[in-house]
Symmetry: C2
Subunit: 155 residues, 2 copies
């Protein structure tokens, strides 16, 4: 059973302890300072299985664009991929931001991370474009956007 | 003459091109993704001298704590330090967040960056504590806080 709840500041330690390993050894920790767990609790979530960290999502509401929300980080334990955890985290994010009038959700990922691009496309994201040096020199990014209906779709 | 204005998305390229050099060669760019220039324009500023980048500040309003604002990054061209540019950037930030009821401003810096700690203290920040591994393993941080009066002080 996967349980999803809002992230708390105290979750940061566990997340930062696994994030490099979950990304196959890439040094990801500098991109995820503690501030995301302190100041964006309402739009950040963790997934747990029997109390063990299985995934997390850090997002926020754009303070420039009143109709936009942004997902900065999504991670799922490699041993638990393919079980819908990333999907469920995103759905909780959509449910949190849609009532606030945030109908545009943006995220970026690395062009080399084909699995991530495909995952986002299955969730309804479109690839806007691939931008070279988007996040600094060598930081090429795939720009992703999903438009939410203001009224949740019936299921 | 130093001119301070809100940061625009188009400023990101110049900033990210100098940030490592301004920090004496430390690899800072991964901590400063483009998102800060896209989604927090109202609380981010650049300083220019005759059109040339002299400094910048990236901050945001906490979405967890309605009375807090946070400064994520402040940089000043090493050749222009001691001219009050960092001070002026912070004052613009305080002016932007105070009318929104943000009376607590937080920032963090590295314990080894004594100049930064002293700079913040001159601006009225207090050192709350030094936290080991605050931003992940090895990421020790000095936690700084400044309380703003709701009514601006007369000068």
């Amino acid at each position: 059973m996967v349980e999803i709840r809002h992230a708390r500041p105290s979750d940061y330690g566990r997340v930062i302890g696994v994030v490099d390993a979950w990304w196959g050894g890439r040094q990801m920790a500098p991109m995820l300072p503690r501030l995301f767990f302190l100041h964006f609790e309402g739009t950040s979530f963790v997934a747990e299985v029997e109390g063990e960290l299985a995934g997390f999502l850090c997002g926020f509401l754009s303070q420039t664009h009143p109709d936009e929300a942004y997902v900065h980080f999504l991670g799922v334990d490699p041993d638990r991929r393919g079980q819908g955890i990333g999907h469920a985290l995103y759905e909780r994010f959509f449910e949190a931001v849609r009532p606030l009038g945030r109908t545009v959700v943006r995220a970026v990922t690395s062009p080399g991370n084909v699995g991530s691009v495909e995952f986002h496309q299955r969730l309804g994201f479109e690839v806007e474009r691939v931008a070279e040096n988007y996040d600094g020199l060598g930081g090429d990014r795939v720009l992703l956007v999903k438009r939410l209906d203001l009224a949740p779709a019936s299921e």
